[in-house]
């Protein structure tokens, strides 16, 4: 079913650029934390890069995205500038939220990144409202809500998918199924064989794809985007993937199956994608190396920019609570 929507070579390269950026950024983030240059709760997305890269490539800058604590890959894929991001996670004034949001609440409306939530399940009800706005104004913009497999068991998931289906909202529910919700396995928490099966409960198209396969993932994303833009309503995409590291930086991940983890890391989607692009002649080794080198430079700059940026003044504590200062 996905073949009509398969990405051409140029599109694949676009996806890869994002994958490379995301992968490099995660590696750098963990290094910077490890070296003690930054202190923050960090939710590594390493291993999940292909999903938002393919999804974002199927969208325009005007489309919307609501993401979660494990969402820096989503934001970068959707176009958040590295400097704004790094300054934010460093808690500096040049951060996209002036340092007040931090790694769990990055926001960048200029590229449609409207909310990052730290509450499991809460991306979905808000994405519905954004999509309702698109429907009312007829501007054709699609809203993506991303969330994890664990989040598919919380009430907000159900309420949101039902409302989206009844109202035929232009929204895409993108479940990044990395097989764990914190320390709990998919099976121990989730009664459905597949999250995608739950679409039946909303009379909504639901598809499980290999989220680590850029072709498959892009096709599903593109199809869902077209459906949404055509006024045909929401889609549930369950993108299978794996979280290479613990739930949060510092987590000893003793609860993870060692063999499963080893196998997943050996099947790292980024280098596989890269090798295929070269093998299929879509890009050359030199081209990709140049892209990657450029990314490293950009990240270098962003990190230094962030660490050189000042911390906010203490009067920021009571600003932005209401339109003008605090009310009480």
């Amino acid at each position: 079913m996905t073949s009509n929507y398969a990405p051409d070579g140029a599109t694949q390269l676009e996806i890869y650029k994002r994958v490379a950026l995301l992968k490099a950024n995660d590696e750098r983030s963990r290094k910077v934390i490890m070296n003690g240059r930054l202190v923050m709760p960090y939710y590594s997305y390493r291993g999940q890069e292909v999903i938002p890269s393919a999804m974002a490539t199927a969208l325009t800058d005007d489309d919307y995205w609501v993401t979660i604590y494990r969402g820096i890959h989503d934001m970068l894929a959707k176009g958040m500038p590295l400097k704004d991001l790094w300054a934010e996670i460093a808690g500096r004034v040049d951060g996209t939220c002036k340092g007040k949001g931090g790694p769990m609440h990055l926001t960048y409306p200029k590229k449609g990144i409207m909310v990052t939530t730290g509450i499991v399940g809460s991306s979905m009800p808000i994405a519905n409202g954004i999509a309702w706005g698109s429907q009312l104004s007829g501007n054709g913009r699609v809203a993506v809500a991303t969330f994890g497999d664990g989040a598919s068991n919380i009430g907000a998931f159900h309420e949101s998918l039902n409302m989206a289906a009844v109202w035929k909202l232009p929204v895409i529910f993108l479940c990044q199924n990395n097989l764990y919700g914190e320390h709990t396995t998919y099976e121990k928490a989730t009664s459905a064989k597949r999250v995608a099966d739950r679409a039946v409960a909303y009379n909504m198209p639901g598809v499980r794809v290999n989220g680590n396969d850029p072709i498959e993932m892009f096709a599903a994303a593109r199809e869902a985007v077209e459906r949404a833009r055509a006024g045909e309503g929401p889609t549930l995409i369950e993108a299978m993937t794996f979280r290479f590291h613990g739930h949060v930086f510092g987590d000893a991940d003793a609860y993870m199956d060692k063999a499963q983890k080893k196998a997943a890391m050996e099947a790292d989607p980024a280098p596989i994608f890269r090798a295929r692009l070269i093998a299929e002649g879509i890009a050359t080794e030199e081209q990709l190396a140049a892209i990657e080198a450029d990314i490293e430079t950009q990240i270098d700059e962003a990190v230094e920019f962030a660490l050189a940026s000042p911390f906010p003044e203490l009067d920021e504590l009571t600003k932005d609570v209401y339109a003008q200062g605090a009310a009480a």
Binding site: Y64, V66, G95, T96, C97, K98, G99, K100, G101, H105, T107, Y108, P109, M114, V115, T117, G118, I119, S122, M124, P125, I126, A127, N128, G129, I130, A131, W132, G133, S134, Q135, L136, S137, A143, G155, A156, E159, S160, N162, M163, V166, W167, K319, D320, V321, Y322, A323, A326, A327, A328
Partner: protein, 333 residues
Amino acid sequence: MSDTATKAKPVTILQAINTAIADAMAADDTVIVLGEDVADPEDGGVVGVTKGLSTRFGEHRVRSTPIAEQAIIGAAIGASLVGYKPVAEIMLMNFTTVAMDMIVNHAAKLRFMSGGQTNVPIVIRTMTGTGFGSGGQHCDYLEAWFAHTPGMKVVAPSNAADAYGLMRAAINDPDPVLYIENLPAYWTPGEAPEPGHIVPLGKASVVKEGTDVTIISYSRVLTEVVAAVEEMEAAGVSAEIIDLRTISPWDKETVFASVAKTGRCLITHEAVTEFGIGAEIAATLQSEFFGKLKAPVGRLGAPYAPVPFSKPLESAYAPTAKRIAQAAISLTK
């Protein structure tokens, strides 16, 4: 306000809310309405507060929703982030418990957490109040929770004109406002507001001037306070009555001016006394007027118990004119 013909004809609080939303929708295409049963095929709400709106403005702008309070507030928040001004109904205040994450962790915080990049101009309408024998899960006044939530504003009109003016102000406001309606008071008639009448958020009104004791209230209990005047006057006590109208941020200026004059204060509301709105006001006043008060600040709320069903118990639950008068008089003794 001028003495126009519009003002002459009394309207109920219910009608005033309805008209306020309609006028706001007519004036601004981005005002939209959602909630359970709010559209006209569903009778415009269980008691008809939104009646006529979907017929007039279309079911795109006025949507009945599934019974799903998280989805309702989420939809309101999302639409507000992209330029709309949603008026969302949570049918009864006790059902806000289902949507607390959306209200408290999201609506109230997105402006702050985004460093001011986004804001959430939504109004959450909700009704509550004892009097109809609905028992423990349908009548709570929970305004103290929301007043304790930075980022939220909380209003609770006691009459038709304020109901209109606060609704218009709440819809205009760039931040989330919880708008509390009282079920038994919906049909209380009052002076009709002029179209476009605005009651600024954060401004209390002095309903009656007096010299001996300031009585502060809001929502339906304000009416009980007014009804207590006779008994207080018979006892030789002159009460100044303040309708808070906005519970958070509350109007310290007006309250301070009154207490500076009277030296005594009673706060009364339908919520339980303990950890209620009265606690914050009393705590503030004892500090502001240290050594200057003629009596301790009094508080009169509901007993520390859920709302009972049985009629005599229910009637004894919320403050009545009689108990308010007694409490006020006792402050002057």
